[in-house]
Subunit: 413 residues, 2 copies
């Protein structure tokens, strides 16, 4: 059986940032799905005279198939509400207050047809999820029965299984924050790729994780993760942290279950918090991962380019020669005021080769996942170099490269 997924957007799973969606797309492809992005469906025909089969007309050619599943999203059915004269909100859902009361004080509304308030940003959102819907029902019932209670808003915590891969998210993505008009220099994003449990215990699988946080106070704004195991657990912990207005420092200090088959003494949650804390303390500030990503780091790079105060940027790859021989040069990704030079010095020889490194440049340090580059950044900054971290290393670069590829539409087949 051949399955083809046709998607008009440049990514699958819009609730995720594009580079996280690239991991999901890979999981679909590994499961045998032919994923065609930037491809609009234009119509359907019978595939042949006998009428047994369908032909799907797309913007990049036809696909003959036996079965079509339409997954076109969710829109609120507000016909009844409109007929009753109820007010709708800016997103087209039924407008309700925090007590789930509509513009008619005798009518309450809950669920997928109502607009909610984004818990993190305070903006109106339409989030058709079962969890918030059932909590809204309880709030409405409380109020109807005379117990004043309020709905605290929606975080958008969600999870999906893709064959043996799980993807989950809570709170804001980089994309959502920018779409809502939030200033890109007001938040950071960091990446990590830890094992889902201690590496010395067999069977650890990587978690590809990204957290987004406030650049000033470290408040956790959102988290996304994709991997085979332990994904929903980490996102649920982030969801509770966001619910309690927690920060990346709280993630760093979290005391979570640790036995080797369940986690690590430094759980992925702790590691995410520590990486983010290092950014906020300026211990390991972030370099920009190329245009449109990296949030505050890229905003600073773009601003410097615009004002003519840009510093020459050089990528420093601290991996071992064996690791990088088949890897493309990282600058391929950099397409907007990004480094055109790269230097390779393995971490273990860096200390004696400091004299080879240029001063008066920004050294954007990279390794495979971000641990050795962290050590290198600390070493370099203590020696007075302007060193920054390419967060999450080559594994992040892989995700971002795939995302960059999918941003260019396919040619007509």
């Amino acid at each position: 059986m051949q399955v083809t997924l046709v998607e008009k957007a440049d990514q699958v799973m819009p609730p995720f940032d594009i580079e996280m969606a690239a991991v999901i797309k890979s999981a679909l492809e590994q499961g045998g799905v032919d994923v065609r992005l930037n491809t609009g469906v234009e119509g359907f025909e019978l595939a042949n005279q006998q009428g047994n089969g369908l032909r799907v007309l797309t913007s990049s050619g036809v696909i003959d198939t036996d079965l079509v599943i339409l997954a076109l999203g969710v829109r609120p059915e507000t016909g009844l509400a409109k007929a009753a004269g109820l007010q709708l909100g800016p997103r087209g859902g039924i407008k309700v207050d925090a007590h789930m009361r509509t513009s008619d004080p005798n009518i309450y509304a809950v669920g997928d047809a109502v607009e909610g308030v984004d818990f993190v940003t305070g903006l109106e959102v339409l989030v058709p999820l079962a969890g918030p819907a059932q909590r809204q029902g309880r709030v409405a019932a409380d109020n109807i029965c005379g117990r004043p209670s309020t709905f605290r808003g929606i975080q958008g915590t969600a999870v999906v299984g893709i064959f043996d891969t799980t993807a989950a998210c809570t709170g804001e993505t980089e994309k959502a924050l920018l779409r809502q008009g939030r200033s890109p220099d007001s938040f950071h994003s960091v990446y990590l790729h830890p094992g889902h449990h201690a590496g010395y215990y067999p069977g650890a699988t990587p978690i590809h994780m990204k957290i987004v946080f406030d650049a000033k106070n470290g408040r956790l704004l959102g988290a996304q993760a994709v991997g085979k195991q332990g994904i929903d657990k980490r996102i649920d912990v982030c969801a509770m942290c966001i619910q309690k207005h927690g920060t990346v420092y709280d993630l760093a200090e979290a005391e979570l279950c640790y036995a080797p088959q369940y986690g690590s003494a430094k759980d992925p949650i702790n590691v995410a918090g520590l990486i983010a804390s290092n950014v906020l303390h300026n211990d390991a500030p972030l370099a920009c991962w190329g245009s449109g990503s990296g949030s505050a780091a890229c905003a600073a790079t773009a601003a410097a380019a615009k004002s003519g105060t840009a510093i020459r940027q050089v990528v420093l790859d601290v991996r071992e020669p064996d690791e990088c021989k088949n890897e493309p040069i990282i600058v391929d990704l950099q397409n907007q005021g990004r480094p055109s030079e790269s230097i390779r010095i393995p971490l273990h020889t860096l200390r004696e080769r400091l004299h080879e490194l240029p001063r008066d440049v920004e050294l954007d340090v990279v390794c495979r996942v971000g641990q050795r580059s962290y050590y290198a950044v600390r070493l370099l900054r203590q020696h007075g170099f302007n060193a920054k971290l390419l967060s999450g290393g080559y594994l992040t670069w892989n995700m971002k490269s795939k995302a960059a590829l999918s941003a260019s539409p396919p040619s007509k087949m």
Copy 2:
């Protein structure tokens, strides 16, 4: 291979409350381990003249074996600290302040040998766990390097695998609170036994969960869970909630990952919070589950018995006849001012049989897991009955019965 576990205490796994430990003991037994509680090891001998084998002398007989594993707990090695003249704390560990500094300002100490502060109670504790140890190391390093940082204390979050079962906990147990001298009427405990994911998706396995919370403000004090899947996830969410001084209302309102293979629209975390909120709102107050358990509910029952104001207590079992025909009468467990009567009326016939129920008694309502008894308690209270919930139903009763059995030492074999 026959494995025998010999334990001097009346339960395995002391960090858990005894009825939670009863589930762990069952998991050990299902894995073929012969668990002997209340049994002290008194010595070892060679099993025979040939010297191939050991004889373990216990307080209840001898066990011949090929291999003995001693798991006697952890005590801090403070020899070096004492020799250096450092102050020790009340629990025998090295005394440190929140900066991990010992009584000698030039010496820092971290890890299993130091005393920490219990994050929930503020009391000194000795908790030899890797997670806190690594965070203490970071705090000490920060301070040594001139960055003031403090260690926030230890929650005691821990997890263990027992064959295919997982047991985890965070924060305080009922036992620990009572041992620390906390008044039993200052906290509640509730039980639940939900599936680890939505019941309509195949493969859901039960989570046996208990949370302990402040009777006044609902602050979450501790959580324990045992089951086959999804255990560490729920305890980690509770750990973050405790870290952020969260309440049971926060658990009720948590927005967690939901897809049928991962959780439920009402996740076990939400259900725990809702049950607890119902107690605090007096919608479904708790009945005492027999002596030494139930915390505030049992304290009230005991106080009433002492002052001569005890109300006659009657167990109302609302399960279907088919479910209870092989079940012992629940009053077997009740051994201190507890009900001597029981009535069986299935929930679906309760509304038309209200006239059969006595007034002027306390109706302690029970079902299998606590859902139908909740409906019954609400119905009864709305009709003016003094109805209370036996939290977690017969599944809790099973755990408590096993725990009660293990409290009586075995006879000499």
